[in-house]
Symmetry: C2
Subunit: 502 residues, 2 copies
């Protein structure tokens, strides 16, 4: 027989595991004392690593732990820093981290019900719990019939993957309605719609799905103009749909955003749904309406923020990322549909090696048919731990706290003549600019970020200036939502803004 | 201000974290004493969970840990069981589990270099380390120029996602060569090719990419016949390519499998590459050649198994999943390309909120342009910990041990008149049938699985019977490769086979 394999013994796993639990606890407790962004140059981290892999076991876990401090930490942007205000947050929390540990320890696979019944059933229940926690209409629950199309939710990796799944489901539903799923003639020209302000993942999904020919294919992915609040203009959407249907094109997918990345705009779902229904292709039926609430949806735990759900019962799918602003480590995109049948018909293939009695009984969910990957880890554990640890009241307090902090920052900015807010605060996202102009705003963001005490990002958005003309303007973005951000951190940010604006 | 948020204190995180480290260590050490598969019925696990989420924090971590034992474990298929011989393995290991813990604790995001320089640079280095560990040709290394197309590797979630990325890159490359990426006329008809024995993920990728109209679209996803060893027949592929090109179709993607899921067949890459080159579409150029070594590629750590790399320098991309058989927890699909430019051109979009100086300098890698998701967690840590803990010698011993165990099982089966092996063992995968026929083989698999002491799966493959005629036959599959599988476990399996065959 070959030589023995140097597996970690249970004792060594316990010893190093405890050390790393301590290390992670210390990191979380002290990250606020580090610069938010690193000062490394390209190649600097790589230069600290050997060029070749170790030939033999190193046998020194102390050295590995030391390298986390010496090599990894100096090269990281600290997303968990309490003064990380960039992009959108990407929350980690104690309960979610521990669930990742348990999930990794179990090494389970939930591709089919039969390969991990508890993986599947806990996931289904968590999606139903969150449908309730968010006040979603019953059509998205796993027990909803929806005229035989069934409802239900699944965990996808990211909102990008959720959008792709929805788009593919929409196209397949239209193809089937047209009876061209087995036709070998030329394909109809399929089209997609989303606002000029929506996330790049929608255009990317269209490129991957083969609907767009390139990133700039505006004939097949139509970017709908927005109103002064940077919300999708539903009448412009209606015109585009009507025009495309009249030209023989087949609209298959419309994405509404509930909280855009740039400025946190909420698209008007009722008017969008109305446009989709009214301008359905006569043979293909209505386009699939997907609502991307990746960031904003977290606020649904608070009843006062549920206005965004108006009309949501007309959406075919909806996604929310607890890995952004709901204390559940990446990756965790909640994806609900009220047309499960179209989704799984677009995605399912059953080779012989995956056949099993449970699936063939039709009594179970096989989640591999809800997305691109086959394998899937046990991510529902994170939601279970987070919901049990925080409870709905804790999650509400969490969101309400950040919204309140953002309100305070907005008030300070509005009260100061150096700044202006062309757009209203959206939940915990505040955008602003310097009255002195774009260069001044850019310089302010760069100055704050260079100091390392806080981190902001920016966007460029067509906002109304003097005389009401909309021109692209450079806006600083403050997205409040890191797990441990408190009032003192926003006070600190305000001091930095005050100082940087001179 | 709203009420305080009940975050876990560092002390509580340490206390529960240590408890869960112990719990995971005990699970791993004792999983071999559990039944491999659970005896739960559909709905049984869900019935143990409340119908609604907790309104308030539960505040009792002991109860959560108890529920892991009471609710989760009885509902799991134990993929880490030493007598799990089903599908392909899905390895967990101590070092990889601990890396997942650290990654979760850091909560870092590697979508852009600038959002986590160390996340990106350690990933690039790990892919270069593994290119060396596997003996890949230099064209796949991150420093390879390849006539300006550049090489390099990335971690994708799964081989399904890797295949989709490769297919989309191939289509975009062909579109660009044809000059139709900005054309608004009817699209060319694109086609893909893979063997009848390849993984369902290839057909699924074509459905998602919009190349196949349905799961059964054999005009656009052509399934190439196989030889008696169930390897892709390259001359049949050449005929299909020639026929399609002559009809004006545009072959964009060919997938060769290095270790098929059903029987572990290795497709002949040199002859496939030759067919792809010879039958390139005159305007579009050659199809993208992707090699799927998701399972079999792990064996590349052993020089004696590198025959599968013959001709691999002609492949445009290659993937290997350390999460299958190389001790690195799911998800971790290594994806290398020698045409980075075509991949990133097919995937990249840069909205304003992601613009940054480092990306625009061109000196760094932004991995979000290598795959569908935007966000990405710090998965390279797993590879780093695993390589440092085991060293290449430890990984070689690991693979060699399983191959040796499979060789022993194969010898026992061959020596027993009740069984036959129509196909040779492939690495650590043994397929066999009962001479008494398909029903007997099926009954044998079911009897073993019902006992809970070991778990096998099956495939149906067209193997030569009496007179050399190939007919679909039910084969039992034994995939040896769980992290802790040892000789005693395979002895145990043999006793079960011996007994079940009567």
């Amino acid at each position: 027989m070959p030589e023995p394999v140097p597996h970690m013994s249970p004792e060594e796993f316990r010893r190093v595991g405890r050390e790393l639990i301590d290390w992670a606890a210390s990191y979380m407790a002290s990250v606020g004392r580090r610069p938010v962004t690193p000062s490394v140059s390209p190649g600097e981290t790589a230069a600290k690593l050997p060029l070749s892999p170790p030939a033999a076991p190193e046998g020194d876990w102390d050295a590995i732990v030391r390298d986390l401090d010496a090599i990894v930490l100096p090269g990281l942007t600290h997303w968990q820093h309490p003064r990380f205000f960039g992009y959108f947050p990407c929350n980690a929390s104690g309960p979610a981290i521990l669930a990742e540990l348990v999930s990794a320890g179990l090494g389970a696979q939930g591709m089919l019900w039969s390969t991990g019944p508890a993986v599947t059933e806990i996931e289904t229940r968590m999606l139903d719990w969150l449908a309730e926690a968010f006040g979603l209409p019953p059509c998205f629950r796993s027990d909803a019939d929806n005229d035989g199309r069934l409802g239900g939710g699944v965990i996808q990796g990211t909102a990008s993957e959720g959008a792709l799944a929805a788009m593919v489901a929409g196209r397949a539903r239209c193809r089937r309605a047209m009876g061209v799923e087995h036709d070998d003639g030329p394909d109809p020209v399929f089209t997609c719609y989303t606002s000029e302000q929506s996330h790049s993942s929608i255009v990317k999904a269209a490129m991957v799905a083969g609907i767009a020919r390139s990133a700039s294919d505006r004939a097949r992915v139509r970017l709908v103009p927005t109103d002064d609040g940077l919300r999708l203009d539903a009448s412009a959407l209606a015109s585009m749909l009507a025009e495309d249907v009249a030209r023989g094109r087949v609209p298959v997918f419309v994405a509404a955003t509930l909280g855009t990345t740039g400025t946190g705009a909420f698209d008007p779902v009722p008017a969008i749904a109305e446009a989709v229904r009214t301008h359905a292709h006569p043979a293909a039926g209505p386009a699939w309406l997907h609502a991307d609430a990746a960031w904003g949806g977290a606020a649904l735990v608070c009843p006062e923020h549920r206005g965004m759900l108006d009309g949501i019962e007309h959406a075919d799918s909806l996604c929310v990322n607890p890995h952004k602003w709901l204390l559940t480590n990446f990756d965790c995109d909640l994806f609900w549909t009220r047309d499960r049948r179209s989704l799984t018909e677009a995605m399912s293939i059953t080779p012989e090696y995956l056949r099993n009695a449970a699936s063939e009984s039709g009594q179970v969910i096989d989640y591999r048919d809800w997305h691109v990957p086959l394998g899937r880890r046990f991510r529902a554990l994170k939601l279970w731990f987070v919901l049990r640890h925080y409870g709905l009241s804790g999650l509400r307090a969490y969101i309400a706290n950040h919204v309140e902090l953002a309100r305070g920052l907005e008030a300070r900015l509005r009260a100061d003549a150096r700044f202006e807010l062309p757009l209203a605060r959206s939940l915990s996202l505040v955008t602003f600019r310097c009255r002195a102009g774009d260069d001044a705003t850019r310089a302010l963001v760069e100055r704050i970020n260079a100091g390392g005490e806080a981190f902001l990002t920016h966007t460029v958005a067509p906002v109304a200036g003097a005389g009401g003309v909309r021109t692209p303007s450079y806006l600083a973005r403050v997205a409040i939502g890191a797990t441990t951000t408190e009032a003192a951190d926003v006070d600190h940010l305000w001091a930095l803004i005050d100082d940087a604006a001179g």
